[in-house]
Point group: C2
Chain length 417, copies 2
Amino acid sequence: MNHNELETKGQRAKEAAVFLRTVSSGAKDEVLQKAAEMLIDKQEAIVRANGKDLEEARKNGIKGAFLERLVLDEKRIAGMAEGLREVAALHDPVGEVLSMIKRPNGLMIGKQRVPIGVIGIIYESRPNVTVDAFGLCLKTGNASLLRGGKEAIRSNQAIRQILQEALVACDFPAEAVQVVEDTSRESARAMMRMNQYLDLLIPRGGAGLIRTVVENSSVPVIETGVGNCHVYVDSYADIDKAIAITVNAKTQRPGVCNAAESLLVHKDIAETFIPEVCKALAEKQVEIRGDETVQKLYPEAVPATEEDWATEYLDLILAVKTVGSLDEAIRHISKFGTGHSESIVTENYTNARAFLNRIDAAAVYVNASTRFTDGYEFGFGAEIGISTQKLHARGPMGLNELTTTKYIIYGDGQVRE
Amino acid sequence: MNHNELETKGQRAKEAAVFLRTVSSGAKDEVLQKAAEMLIDKQEAIVRANGKDLEEARKNGIKGAFLERLVLDEKRIAGMAEGLREVAALHDPVGEVLSMIKRPNGLMIGKQRVPIGVIGIIYESRPNVTVDAFGLCLKTGNASLLRGGKEAIRSNQAIRQILQEALVACDFPAEAVQVVEDTSRESARAMMRMNQYLDLLIPRGGAGLIRTVVENSSVPVIETGVGNCHVYVDSYADIDKAIAITVNAKTQRPGVCNAAESLLVHKDIAETFIPEVCKALAEKQVEIRGDETVQKLYPEAVPATEEDWATEYLDLILAVKTVGSLDEAIRHISKFGTGHSESIVTENYTNARAFLNRIDAAAVYVNASTRFTDGYEFGFGAEIGISTQKLHARGPMGLNELTTTKYIIYGDGQVRE
């Protein structure tokens, strides 16, 4: 691999970050608008490059959902441009002073939101991530160094070319966004050790990619996305709400991280609830994998194994288990959950409070679908991912989560006694 | 090394964290008070164990500041107990809801402070860190796994014994605090890979320890403490303030990370300011290492080399450089600073604003000593360290920084359309 490429791009990103740190919100929004306009105007170049990526991918036997995600057409390009316009319309968090205190010695100490600096993103073969990541990073005054999958390299470079033209047209340094040309495994490994240039590394993609980055990166990482989410139907649940929430959490979009993968049902409500919910799920083509009680109450259920409780299916399959108590449900979730989104369905005040307090996850729900864990649904607007770790950011990461803070201190000659 | 020790302690810490997550503030404060009382009552056991550590250390040729930091006597033990009482008196941040919004669909989405979970701390041979870290972690509902230096192992175990007795006396699990017995290099390395059990790892100690942890840990790390701090005296500086601030920042406690290591002086003020400030510094036994202009204006100055600009002396030495402009000062700080604490001395409004905006550091000062970057001075109370990285926490880390957040969502049956 070409070590020089990353070294050079790292240096340039750091220089661009110095420029971005103090640029006005208006100027950044202008770039976003310009880039949106140019993506539409120059879409032919993108479609052409994408065509070559698709041709190569087909030649290599790639098909199905993977190939589908790689496609850029007029509609997708319009969506990417619209995404940039939406980010431009959001409030810029940079510069906001979150608090300012006056100390007894007269020092005024403020905590101000500032850009993080240079953000590296390692992702797979969805070229739309190139535009999304650029938009969110630029809006928050961060330079971005993007490394997408090798299958999308031509598409990503065509997009990069347009984004850099938009930057330059607005008197910004082109290196505010850069795309790594070397898509080898080694370039990803090298990015994970670029502490000198990268302030943060975000992996976006499947569980394998995320694990590799977490295990090998000395650059601070934010872990995103793996979700083995549960719906727990308490003995005090309203059956109609419980059915609606379970069906929604499982089927509204089964392939995403906030979809439910397991349903826990209190034994006292199992007899009524399980046949009904399984019927409603079956209508949506959901396969049920159940414990013995579930198999008795719904004979079409496939017997569940221990592995089912730990599996993120991302598919129309639901593991269903009966539990003897709220406590057992909480212990099951603590053992098998990934700390993403967990929901209790209950009309009981004390049980709702216990679940909210005792479950350790990014988002804990009472009487609502886990599918709401999302930047737009939380009212943040576009998100860069959903953090399932505990440091810096937890849950949907919007613009605020792409900033850090610094203390600004106004004195009049104070010295420490 | 004994892999079983860490595995067992990791598991137990995780179990203790489940208990600590929901325990009341009152109960935690009771433990802190009890531990303070017992440290005093049982100080003989600590002093005895410490005596053996000191004997061994002397046998191994350890002396000077290192040996001095290892000593535990009546006064130091009283200080440790007092530290716990002070932490007990602080406001408990756990449970606080930082914001709660109501979405158009009626969902109420709150962001609540919660404990991080299990915090690992790797430190050197200051046994007082054992008590400090225990107190801050317990107050914030976190279990702690502490690995001190081998020279302090007997002292640390004696302290641990007392802290655990206090926990048990208050019906807390003893494993809310644990001290790693294996002080080999391998045990530190193994802690850095304990992602299954540790939510956060904090290295406390010298630059070498911190670098090793940052480079080798797959557990999220907070980097603390390295400070190459600058005072920049602008052409518009008030000379008296500039002298007082420079002398204070350098000499009030030269061995700590927020002490100044370099002084930058605008050329237009150099002729008046440099002889005066150097004289004042000389009275405090500070050695001056200067560029050519400094050497001319203060002949006692030692010629500075490029290396001096990058050195954290932690000693009575100050590197002094003249600069042609504010811009040159900012570029110098950006190149050589470690992002800790930086101060400008000026009466000029625009220059003060430019410095505050353009310097990228945890704490940026106008007309005040860099020595204020400290949990107590910022009004947070006790701190676990001063973060010089950008994720999660930046600057002094008090109790708030030892918490994470989770979203708590109150619904009435909402599902996603």
